[in-house]
């Protein structure tokens, strides 16, 4: 008797889990060794406003997907949006990646779980009191030791209302966590300089204090050697980081752009002009 009640309880829970939540979150779609779903930050879309959506990935242990610059191998996820007239998607916003690999081949990406963000702007002339179906065709390369290309069709339906959008409590934690992992603009008081030496770039950072750890993830491919160790030298006000040049770099570059990681939750977007002056001592 007791067993059957417990069984019934579990069964009801199971059924509840199976019922997709309306609005903020469609059911997850399978990709190789993982799932993806499209989630909304707000409960509805308002004409003339912007709403963030998320491509929410979950991967099986050991499998990974790639950052916008995948590094030495791999390929970032690609999305083709299918949006109703009056809705326009912006650029994907990518959380700071992890270094994947320890040998001569180093990639940049994400394992376990990651959510890529995308802003969607609604035209002021969009008519309210209807539902908008947002669709996306996703292509994603999922790798562990081997790589498996996957495709997924994901979609989400949200109401359009003429009142200002309100956040959806069901996804607020997810969006907060994803935003925390996005690289932030570097504080205005920080100073950066990049020197162009024969075989390397030296990134000098003045952050107003001692820094023990720093690593750089290049946004452009073929600028620095992804697998080379990044040697850090502490200075009283920051650090100097030596970035070995990529063998594929045959011409001088004007800027070095990428993500500077000081700790897991301290990542910054930097875009520094490359000086052709000698390294200041």
């Amino acid at each position: 008797m007791r067993n059957s009640i417990v069984g019934l309880l579990f069964f009801s829970l199971f059924i509840l889990v199976l019922i997709p939540l309306p609005g903020a979150r469609a059911s997850a779609t399978t990709i190789p060794h993982g799932t993806v779903d499209l989630v909304a930050e707000n409960q509805w879309i308002s004409p003339g406003s912007q709403t963030y959506f998320g491509l929410n990935f979950h991967l099986e242990k050991g499998w990974h997907i790639y950052w916008v610059n995948p590094g030495d191998s791999g390929q970032p996820p690609r999305v083709a949006w299918h949006l109703p007239a009056g809705l326009t998607s912006g650029e994907l916003e990518w959380p700071a990646p992890r270094r994947l690999g320890t040998s001569t081949i180093v990639d940049f990406g994400y394992d376990d779980a990651v959510m890529l963000l995308v802003p969607v702007r609604a035209s002021p002339t969009l008519s309210a009191n209807q539902a908008a179906q947002l669709g996306a065709e996703l292509r994603v390369l999922v790798c562990r030791e081997i790589c498996i290309p996957g495709k997924a069709q994901i979609s989400l339906t949200l109401p359009i209302k003429s009142v200002p959008p309100e956040p959806d409590a069901r996804t607020s934690e997810l969006f907060a966590a994803s935003r925390k992992s996005l690289p932030r603009p570097a504080p205005g008081s920080w100073e950066f300089h990049v020197s162009d030496l024969k075989d390397s770039f030296v990134l000098t950072a003045k952050l107003g204090g001692k820094t023990t750890r720093a690593s750089f993830f290049p946004l452009e491919e073929s600028q620095i050697d992804n697998s080379a160790a990044q040697k850090i030298v502490q200075t009283p006000t920051g650090f100097q980081l030596t970035l070995r040049k990529s063998d594929q770099l045959l011409h001088p570059i004007e800027r070095l752009k990428g993500v500077l990681e000081l700790s897991a939750n301290q990542t910054y977007l930097i875009d520094v002009a490359v000086g052709n002056t000698q390294l200041a001592r």
Binding site: T104, D247, Q248
Partner: protein
């Protein structure tokens, strides 16, 4: 004495700080020499092909990016076109035993006849020695060596880094570019690119 120790420390530091000398395979540099055993049981020595253009193609038959260029017939077409003009083409398989793309001689011969591949030879490099010599990172990765033995192209096969067969028509093929320009005595316009594809499945790597 103290000064002597300081001196010794300085010497030690200088020695430790000296850059590690690596014989880098790099565009504009001489192509490192190698000897390889092919699936046809013959031994090939790169230096024997001095005076000819040589193409190196890193290969893994299980890699979706390699498959893109073989299922479409694109790689076979390139092999036929260029070996037909007297250019030497080595397909190189650096997958370690047990890893994706590893084949023995029979396996590779069967694959080549099934796919209609016609490189000069398919070199079996299960230790990864040739792959590491050229710092090959992906499959496919393409290298073009000129008759003087200098690397004139190193990188991707084309400018569309995807696994989608539909991206082949209209892509700029860098191997055709390098060989075409070099054969007509012009400098190679795009001499180095980021190779795209799967990582080479070397021994000891976990991904």
């Amino acid at each position: 004495m103290k000064r002597f120790i300081t001196f010794l420390t300085l010497v030690a530091l200088l020695v430790l700080a000296a850059p590690v000398l690596v014989l880098a395979a790099k565009v504009g540099q001489p192509a490192p020499d190698f000897t390889g055993t092919a699936s046809n049981n013959q031994t090939y020595h790169l230096a024997d092909y001095h005076g000819k253009f040589v193409v190196l193609e890193w290969h893994n038959n299980g890699c979706p990016y390699t498959q893109k260029h073989y299922m479409s017939g694109n790689m076979q077409k390139l092999q036929k076109q260029w070996t037909g003009q007297g250019i030497v083409w080595f397909t190189i398989i650096s997958s370690a035993p047990g890893k994706q793309g590893y084949v023995d001689a029979n396996g590779e011969n069967n694959y080549m006849s099934k796919m209609g591949a016609s490189p000069t030879a398919a070199l079996l490099d299960p230790t990864g020695a040739i792959g590491h010599l050229y710092d090959a990172k992906t499959t496919p990765q393409m290298i073009v060596i000129n008759p003087q033995g200098v690397i004139i192209y190193d990188g991707a096969i084309d400018n569309r880094p995807t696994d989608d067969v539909k991206d082949i028509p209209g892509a700029t093929n860098y191997v055709n570019g390098a060989l075409g320009q070099a054969l007509s005595g012009k400098p190679v316009e795009t001499a180095a690119t980021r190779p795209y594809g799967c990582s080479v499945k070397y021994k000891g790597t976990w991904f």
